[in-house]
Symmetry: C2
Subunit: 190 residues, 2 copies
Amino acid sequence: MTDLPAPGRTRNAAATRQAILDAAHHRFAKEGYDGASLREIAAAAKVDAALVSRYFGSKEELFVEVLNCAPDSSDLFEGELGDFGTRVAAKILDDRDVDQGVEYLLIMLRSASSPAAAEPLRRSMRTHFHDPFAAYLGGPHADVRARLAGDLIMGVCMSQAISADHDLDEEGQANLRKRLALVLQAAVEP
Amino acid sequence: MTDLPAPGRTRNAAATRQAILDAAHHRFAKEGYDGASLREIAAAAKVDAALVSRYFGSKEELFVEVLNCAPDSSDLFEGELGDFGTRVAAKILDDRDVDQGVEYLLIMLRSASSPAAAEPLRRSMRTHFHDPFAAYLGGPHADVRARLAGDLIMGVCMSQAISADHDLDEEGQANLRKRLALVLQAAVEP
DNA sequence: CGCCCAAGTCAACGGTTGATGACTTTTACA
DNA sequence: TGTAAAAGTCATCAACCGTTGACTTGGGCG
């Protein structure tokens, strides 16, 4: 076992804390708040299970921390508003971009049923998604348009998450992309 | 306690089985597959916990049975296609109609994270929602349009489920209804 | 070098879950 | 009416959960 990342530093509180945070992020995205156990998270971070409770106090506090460290999804809100539909549709339907900003949405929809996770979720969804989204959109009823587009994005992401294999053929997939772009654009435009 | 439905029949296998089924339906819709425990379901059905496993074999088999007994959501698919947007938007946003067909959607989105529930969910979603929906729509790419509209409906329902209190004022709510109707209509029209 | 606190480990706790087998009670039929 | 099977009850199991406290190990600093 000579695969120490930093030779002279085996014990590093900040690094292990970050490792736990990253592992928790992925496990929460894949299993949801209830489904992801602290032991699983600890194993994924190659860390003793007790350390998780030790560092973050409780599972719920760890969840809040994960939500706070989430990216702003600001990559969705860059570019012209006229391109919004096609741009976001491509980003959503291209599966392998999940690790960027959409994985954050997965945490939400997979943890929506947990009562303990509901309140942190609601708060984080506002600050990290709806508010910057509405600010990006601007114009009249920006909050309503942001919410509607956000709901559509969420629904599509969820549908993808449920159906592991795409049950649409290639032409249908292309048509879905085109149509999603159209509807998304209709949702955000004043 | 003289409220026996049939005076001479206290023990009725079919009736208790149905009671368990109804209770499971409500608990799954409210708590999701993982969140709803067999003991909770049994208590809601006023039945011993052991009977649930006894009647349905396992929790997953009970879940499948609940999905099979779900309504076809066919109330969404009645009426003219030109009205679809406004009609469905009203049905979704009017909270107290949940018990009809939308509660079935809640089961889906609250149980999407459970690996055990994923496969039954996928199958039931096809037969009970997407396929009749696509048949109702007709026209070219009916499956794509059905899926897109279904995803939008799901996202909006989920957003409502997450935000317990509506964080939109009355005018915003009215605008959301109008705009949702518009976008929904755009999603389903050829 | 030797101390001492931070970092990490280990075992265990109370609680809940899904599931099972043995037991008691009721119903229906001969 | 007597009896056997159906319907319901009870206690319990093994597994997992989040969390906690006591213990061991490591490295920076005097």
